[in-house]
Amino acid sequence: MNDQLPALIIVLPLVSALLVNIAGRVGRSYCWLFTVLVMTAVTGCALGLVSRVMTQGIIHYRLGGWPAPVGIEYVVDHLNVLMLVLISAVSLVAAIYSGPAVQREIPEQTTSFYTLFILLVAGLLGMTITGDAFNLYVLVEISALTGYGLIALGQGRAFLASFNYIIMGTVGACFYLLGVGHLYIKTGSLNMKDLYQLLPSLYSSETIAVAFILILAGVWAKMAFFPLHTWLPNAYTYAPTATSALVAPLMTKVSVYVMIRIIFSVFSPEFAFHISAVRHLVVWMAVVGIVTGSVMALLQTDFKKMLTYLIIAEVGYMVGGVWLANRAGITGAVLHVINDALMTLSLFLVAGVVTYRTGGHQVRNLQGFYRIMPWTMAAFTLAALSMIGVPPTVGFFSKWYLMLGAIHGAQWHFVAALVFSSLMNALLFFRIMEMAFFDAPDPAQAWVGPEAPVSMMAPVLGTAVGLLAVGLNSRVIVDRFIQFVIPAGL
């Protein structure tokens, strides 16, 4: 059983996505319970994989027993086991949280919501665990298609937003596929490990360089890296509450993981980073992305949309960190993948509670919230401090490594961008806190009342506490996992 964990973690949600329909036939309310149980089991699988990787090292799993490079291989190493835990834990939290939100916003589509929800999680887990470049494409499409569907379940502008996302997402996926095609033509292989061994002799080939650029561009479009970010704000803002709680923390972060995986395990850091002009260009793009994202966030009056621009800024953190191409920078980027997922989750959960209680997600909906909903605001305050980067919340520690990496690499503009973004975050979050603290609640609000139901509040508070707990245990993540991820020589 334990040996089958790498397959089980994918097969379990894939099969459950079909079974949830049966649950939906029996009674709509069973869908939620079923999904929560599935996500709990998936989280259990992920934790089982952690203990196996920690004791036995990297796991290679051949699907159907076919040896690589013919068959599809799943590889679990120190990097993606972290991602598997992250994805399954965030999905579990989002699943628990989704109950009341789905019931209120999209009761008619409960069954289809949970079907897509579980499929999306399967896609994300698959993108993370696969050791095959083409299989990765398939799973990218699974997660993308279910993502479009989940977003389109929203009201009003959600359709158009989802359509824009489809266009950019498809362009991104095509670029990726095209790049993988180039690699296949030159090497005849799609297995990542195989490619990693075959490619060095071809590094001088222009086809390989083009393949690398195509793949990179495709992944960047998927993660909304500046300037390919325009699809993201509307898609995540107008999605239903339960969708954004799942999609916003995970989708971009998994794409960042894919970028790291491609650079380290298909190509090599020497190949990716060997032209310093390219490296500097990407860091500059990250800087512009961080600054733009922060400034745009400040201009928003919609709370959710503000958060979406912050995601774009944070993507700049991670891409910039990787392309600093030194140990501290990459450590920071990987750590930030985890930390930013938790922070984004925390903030979107709060945004969902605001929507649930007030019927809207404008910033002004939070007027007087410290008095009305003190627990929600406590969670919000913690998440905000983490975004600003106040120790000992998670946000501080990844920023610490990112800045350290930038200082080591003498990339002062990246240091300046990180400081700028921290200050902007301070400005925009304290503006909201001020409103929540000083202003009287708006009497016209639809849903002013006590705190949201327990199934929403438990995830909100649990995640907020997680920001502290994970932050204080950053060393475990760095020492036991991330340090094995970074290739020797960096």
């Binding site: 401090l385 600003i388 980067g389 106040v390 120790p391 000992p392 520690f397 610490w400 490594y401 800045m403 350290l404 200082i407 080591h408 240091v415 400081v419 921290s422 200050l423 301070a426 304290f430 001020e434 603290f437 000083f438 932050g471 204080l472 950053s474 060393r475 760095v478 020492d479």
Partner: protein, 488 residues
């Protein structure tokens, strides 16, 4: 010498943080709630006192709470300087708690539970800064203090509080994120550690320009010290209830600022390095300008609390000047001034609050003849004023004396002049308040000739701190001994 390992410093930090839970739970029973505050205060004070003996014997007490990242532990270490500050802060917390009860209940202030909760958190952070063994731990508690004091500063939740709170956070958080954070990372990147070492952790192999840049990033970054031009938050913060101004903006918050600068100067750069690069002089000029300008501005202020705030800005710069002159005597004077100024200034704030509670007056011009009505309060006011001016028989004389001696030892005649001139200015803005309070014709007096002091909960603390100010003149221990131990 190997430091003693003990959990006591950690407990001393945590006790007021943990007190938050019972304070919240007992929110419907105000007397019990305040009892928790007092209990936490005395436990904290007892823990600090229990470590005083070993520290005076030259020992250090250390505790590592967590190693959050490799090379980045949350570690506490009690040494002489930290003990000096912790002793001042934990003593005055108990006094201020008593005063808070009198003040908040007399004025029937709202949200008293919130007030006591954040006061407790602020004290945890203060002791955390005092005992921090490295720059990271110091930064962590420094930020916690900034955040915990925001709800206290903006307690009244009106437009003025909102404006002031905004200014407060902009200055304090803006500088700590914008200057201290990158500075800290640069130090870590240069030296590989953030641990405070007696001779500093940076050395001559780095250029003067770099060291100078870092020094000023820290000096201005710790804006709680109120060095000009990053001082404007302090007068604005006077919108807070008076006990907050008293403990936080005369003792805890502002002293955390100067304390951090002292730590940086002695533990990160080292006096020798600053001497080699002649960087002390620049710092001394900034401090001198702050002293003179703040004192001159204080002369023009009619609001008593604002006058006290500008006085504080000047007095904090004394402490920095003490470090900047790089002379052992001046540094001793500066460190002792942390304690002496604390007791003097808190007395003055308590008086200002007592006047407000008893009469509702905030401005100096409205206090003509008040001495006849509140003789005890105004008597204490005189003692506090003398302590801040630096005249006997108050403890303030001792610290000023050492600062003056130090300026002569360092051959800084200009700074000597600044110290003496500013003492005159101090007298110029404090003594008229006292004079007008007692000496006026019956027609001028704004109050009926009838004694009515503030309630005992307010009066006893201010008499106590005034008494301690006098006591410290005759017996300046243990503060003086600690300062001497702390000077390298």
């Amino acid at each position: 010498m190997e430091p003693l390992v003990s959990i006591k410093p950690f407990l001393a930090v945590m006790v007021s943080l943990l007190a938050v839970v019972p304070i919240l739970l007992l929110r419907s029973w105000p007397n019990l709630r305040e009892a928790v505050t007092f209990l936490a205060g005395f436990v904290k004070w007892g823990l600090v006192l229990s470590m005083l003996g070993p520290v005076l014997d030259g020992m250090q007490i250390e505790y590592t709470a967590a190693e959050v990242l490799p090379g980045l532990p949350i570690r506490l270490r009690v040494d002489a300087l930290g003990m000096l500050f912790a002793l001042v802060a934990s003593t005055l917390w108990i006094v201020t708690s008593a005063y808070s009860v009198g003040y908040m209940r007399s004025l029937k202030e709202h949200s008293q539970t919130r007030y006591f909760v954040f006061f407790s958190v602020a004290l945890s952070a203060t002791i955390g800064v005092a005992f921090a063994a490295n720059l990271f731990t110091l930064y962590l508690f420094y930020e916690l203090l900034s955040l915990a004091t925001y709800p206290l500063v903006t307690h009244h939740q009106n437009q003025e509080a909102k404006r002031s709170g905004r200014k407060y956070l902009t200055y304090i958080l803006g500088t700590s994120i914008g200057l201290v954070l990158p500075g800290m990372l640069m130090v870590f990147s240069l030296s590989g550690t953030l641990d405070f070492q007696p001779g500093g952790i940076l050395n001559e192999q780095f250029s003067k320009g770099l060291i100078g840049l870092l020094l000023f990033m820290f000096v201005f970054g710790f804006a709680k010290a109120g060095l000009m031009p990053f001082h404007a938050w302090l007068p604005a913060a006077m919108v807070a209830p008076t006990p907050v101004s008293a403990l936080l903006h005369a003792v805890a918050v502002v002293k955390v600022g100067v304390f951090s600068i002292l730590r940086i100067v002695t533990g990160v750069f080292g006096m020798d390095l600053l001497g080699t690069f002649n960087l002390g002089q620049g710092l001394a000029y900034i401090a001198a300008v702050t002293i003179v300008v703040a004192s001159l501005v204080a002369l023009t202020q009619d609001g008593l609390k604002r006058r006290l705030a500008f006085s504080t800005i000047g007095q904090l710069a004394y402490i920095i000047l003490g470090a900047a002159m790089l002379s052992p005597k001046a540094l001793t004077g500066g460190m002792v001034h942390i304690a002496m100024h604390a007791f003097g200034k808190i007395t003055l704030f308590f008086c200002a609050g007592a006047i407000f509670v008893a009469t509702g007056k905030k401005n100096v011009s409205e206090m003509v003849g008040i001495g006849r009505r509140m003789p005890i309060t105004m008597g204490a006011f005189l003692v506090g004023a003398l302590a801040v001016i630096g005249l006997p028989p108050t403890g303030g004389f001792i610290s000023k004396w050492y600062l003056v001696l130090g300026s002569m030892e360092a051959g800084q005649s200009l700074m000597l002049g600044v110290l003496l001139f500013s003492s005159l200015l101090n007298a110029g803005y404090f003594l008229p308040v006292f004079y007008r309070a007692f000496f006026c014709t019956p027609e001028e007096a704004l109050f009926e000739n009838q004694v009515k002091e503030a309630p005992a909960w307010c009066l006893v603390p201010l008499v106590g701190t005034a008494g301690v100010s006098i006591l410290l003149f005759f017996y300046p221990q243990p503060f003086f001994g600690l300062a001497q131990l702390a000077v390298p």
